[in-house]
Symmetry: C2
Subunit: 199 residues, 2 copies
């Protein structure tokens, strides 16, 4: 019934995610979106709503596909500390790629862009960033349970340290991408967790 869609929904969201990632929310115009997706404005608005709705889909997709979800406990390795190390390595490696590294992380970028606002959209963004943080919380909790980290560790603080390191690696890579410097950030986070293991 009705005329069928000519575009692939997920493919469009994926393209939109990339352009928001590269240019930010404010920096991305509807013309950017139409040219990168091949759709025109009318199609976009009837299928997705407005720029803000599209951005929400993009951010959700980015987080869902991103490395934070790929290194969940037990999915890559039964060892949570190893999962953390692998994640840091992946972030550092991606930061070495000239174009990709300079983009930072869409979630963190958005947190920076919307951080000093107080709108529905800014609250949505911050909630999504907090979902990222909870991933580190789970990792640290699991590492405590398996005995890989000390029982006396303050999980909330330790998780924040591990989370901060990921933030710093991703975002500082925009202007300081040197691998050994980013590794310092990861390694001092690991040291602060009480493990001897390094990135």
């Amino acid at each position: 019934m009705g005329r069928p869609r000519e575009f692939n929904y997920e493919h469009v969201v994926s393209k939109v995610t990339e352009v928001f990632w590269a240019k930010g929310f404010q920096g991305t115009s509807l013309d950017d979106i139409t040219s990168v997706t091949g759709l025109n404005k009318g199609s976009i608005y009837s299928s997705f709503g407005n720029k803000e709705a599209l951005f929400r889909l993009a951010l959700r997709k980015y987080i869902g596909d991103g490395p934070f979800n790929q290194f969940r406990v037990g999915e890559i390795s039964p060892d949570p500390v190893n999962a953390l190390i692998q994640l840091y390595r992946k972030l550092i490696n991606e930061s070495q790629m000239a174009k990709l590294g300079k983009r930072g992380c869409l979630a963190f970028n958005s947190g920076m862009e919307f951080g000093n606002q107080n709108t529905k959209l800014s609250r949505f963004v911050i909630e999504e960033v907090e979902r990222l943080e909870s991933f580190f919380h789970e990792l640290v909790e699991e590492a405590k349970a398996t005995g890989a980290l000390s029982k006396s560790l303050d999980v909330r603080k330790a998780a924040f340290r591990a989370f901060s390191a990921a933030f710093t690696i991703r975002e500082m890579a925009k202007f300081r991408p040197e691998r050994d410097l980013l590794a310092e950030v990861a390694n001092s986070a690991l040291a602060s967790l009480g493990t001897e293991r390094r990135v």
Copy 2:
């Protein structure tokens, strides 16, 4: 000779700095600037040039007036480690103030905003951020010289760790302003420098 200015140059730059700090470069319109300064566009353009020139003045002023310059070696305390601790404390304290804390740091904000570009302006911004980093370099070097930090410390890496902590405190405060969490960041940087002292 000629009609005298009706505005105070430094006062205007100061107001402009605040609005760029609060809204970012892209997020600040010329109307924002005219309404915050009381000048109209013509005056602004004849006195300062364009939006970009105004932004350069603002960023320079921000860095010149900021805490990074206030805690130079010997100016507050002859003890460089103490200067670092004082600086962290100041950053953490400012992050507690609801509106101010959410603004982060104009220099870092700008680094984030321009990081993935390659224009004259983006290069200017990155140079300014690097000037901030060199402040930490001097601090660490001085601390080594006075014996407050170990002679075996790698200054480049140590300075980057100290610098990263400042970055993280200022920028993560936008969405995670809790004092004890930000103190964790400062304290693990201090620990990584090999000192027992804490914020």
